[in-house]
Amino acid sequence: MTILEVNNLKKVYTTRFGGSPVQALANVSFSVEEGEYAAIMGESGSGKTTLLNILASLDKPTSGEVLLKGKGLSTIKEKEISAFRRENLGFVFQDFNLLDTFSLQDNIFLPLVLSGKSYEEMSRRLEPIARKLGIGDILAKYPYEVSGGQKQRCAVARALITKPQLILADEPTGSLDSQAAEGLLRLFKEINQEGQTLLMVTHSVKAASHAQRVLFIKDGEVFHQLYKAGMSDEAMYQKISDTLTTMATGGGRHE
């Protein structure tokens, strides 16, 4: 079943002081199936972040539509969009986006508190997640007291705790050392194997090689896509590298 469907997405920025408009997304279409683990790759300035912001309903496209489980994001009223985002989407960011005014546990609880869940239910939901992510003993600490890897695992916990339809990850390994990055990618794979749909934006070949499918974006369009389909991580890594080289040297569109 298709969870996410993106049709002919276009985004043009006009700058504040009336400079020439910048086209971030030209024409993007793709879809993500339930239980899939997809990665979007592209160089800086290729429109990755714009795409993610639109998927996250933080930004609105100039034209085109985004359907989450068949429901158009643009049809949701402004008032409901936050609740919708909270209940259906989970986020993992490069810079963690943990609030330093809250302990890690309270950071993880934040979306649930906003939905008005009771403390008992929140603790019940947190318990298995904390065990799986190995963060049980640092929950009382504050973001500035723990390492980057631990912060990112808490951010994952925050994304998981709402049992979202789709987790969006924006450069999740970007601020992590190689060991912590490796751990996080393994974690994503596990989560995915338990049935969680994941969409990750990255320009790390290593990170992308863990995904089942990789979409390449160039100049605001989907340039190419690769399916892993039983390939090993290493083989996938090689294939992604090749594609990137081709893209960088200005090769034509692959089929």
Binding site: K79, R85, N97, T101, D106, L110, L114
Partner: protein, 665 residues
Amino acid sequence: MSRFFYPKLAATNLKKNAQTYLPYILTCIGTVMMYYIMVFLSENEGLGKMAGGSQVQMILNLGCYVIAIFSAIFLFYTHSFLIKRRKKEFGLFNILGMEKKHIARVLAFETLYVAGISLGVGLLGGILLSKLIFMVLLKILNFEVPLGFDVSGPALAAVLFLFAGIFLLTLLNTLRQIHLAKPVELLMGGQTGEKEPKTKWPLVVIGTLSLGGGYYISLTTQSPLDALTQFFFAVLLVMVGTYCLFTAGSIAVLKLLRRNKGYYYQTRHFTTVAGMMYRMKQNAVGLANICIMATAVLVMVSTTVSLYIGLEDVLRTRYPQNIMISTPMPAQQSVEGLQTSVKEVLAKHRLEEKDRLDYRYAALVGNQEGDTVITDMSNISNASSSVREFYLIPLEDYNRLAKRTASLGDDEILIYSSGSKYEEDTLTVLNRTFTVKERLDSFFENSPNRVSISGSYYVVVKDMDVVKAMEEARAKENRDDPSGYRYYLGFDLEADEADISAVYQDIRTALRSDYPSSWIESPVEAKESFFAIYGGLFFLGIFLGALFIMATVLIIYYKQVSEGYDDKARFEIMQKVGMSREEVRGSIRSQVLTVFFLPLVTAGIHIAFAFPIITKLLAVLNLTNVGLFAWCTAGTILVFALFYAVVYGLTAKVYYRIVSWGTSG
């Protein structure tokens, strides 16, 4: 490198940081202006020559010191805030290859510009405004307004000296900070990880105790004399309490709230409690400052305004009658002789006395301990709250004035208390014990000393023999000469001030030879000096009030700016995690509102608790019209609150502009 590089860079820096520097420069200009005007007035020769002018200048002189000290502390404080925000910039310069001495040079130029603009504009404004303020002051003081316009050299010198010093100090302090810091530290600037604040229970306890102590003193102090000595102690306690409770108390309360899971994990409370904790840690001291300054403004303005408005009341309280004569009665003179002299003067002016009040009396001062009064002067401490004045009056005079036919035995008395109540059944004074036959609940409306800072009693005794015997006993105990008895004569006149003044002068002359120790008082004579003192205080109150308000505005503004930058990141994260813009906005708005109105509300509470003790203090200054003071206080609070709200509203705009910059795209 071009010779103009540093001056140019300094100018660019100031322009780039206009958002924070402009208010700072405006404040500098404001303080320069105020200080110049204050020094100008206190040095002004014309003012000094006017009647009562020297008293006014004494008050204004005090104002000069207050403004000088305040400006120094305040400008220093705000400047360090500015620099804190700019550390990143300095770090960048450093990394781009500027040495610290180059940065120092840029900073020196910046300071030079700021000082130049502040002093130039400030002095110009001060000189222009000084004439206007001078006229306002004279109007307040009821003085004639002379023509002419002058610039005061000493005032100019004082301003230049003071502010050059302040600017130099701020520059040196900044250089010290830059010199000590490493480039990386500078780059990291204001964003070192914020630790969660610890609950400091000792501070909470100290704060609660001292605040409670201050309030307790205000509520329980009965005698105006005590009020005088206790007031500053109470103020100190409340200040300590305010600082402790704002810093530690707020955190403790928020932590308790957080511990209550049912309360904390609710949508409405969750972000607020955590956000407030962070905010209070950052802002507690600044908010306590605002609170104390607001309280100071409110107290100063409300008291000086009510004293000034109530001046007629004050005069009436201090001088119940138009002409008041009190004299020791030498043995060779008689009451009738004095009365005749006064009558002759009145006849000359074709005036009749009205509401005449006259009686013979002897005065005693002593420490009251239960039903015993210790009159031995060597044992009396003047500052003690148990000091009482006793006026012994013969029954004959009392009966005549009160139109009664009361009778008394040798050791019986009638007593009337003014100030503190006399609760005992007997009164022992100078080894003689009297029985209280009757407690009078009213006495002669216009008797002098009705309001006195210590309590006073009017004691009616059997006859003049008792009065004289008591006076002799007092003289013997204190080893001085008995002065016999005294005589008081007071009356009103239906005449204008000039006539009353003439009568006053004539009576004074008439009595000089026969009654050399007599004193004569009239509100007409005192009016000028009362206007000078209370008008001077009023002026100073308003002037300093304006200065404090300016400071409050600046602190609020800077708080809003720094809050804005801090909240920007949080605002974005919360949206990403699933709060709508409106929810975030609402949550942040309620927090910011709480943070900014907390000092105002606290100041209001302080004022409410200070009210009793301030009314006592005003009684010392002869203002007994509590209603007037209540109205003035309420009015001042209202005006201040309105002003505060407007300032808040204006600065909140800056805040929202910072917070929503970039998220609107």
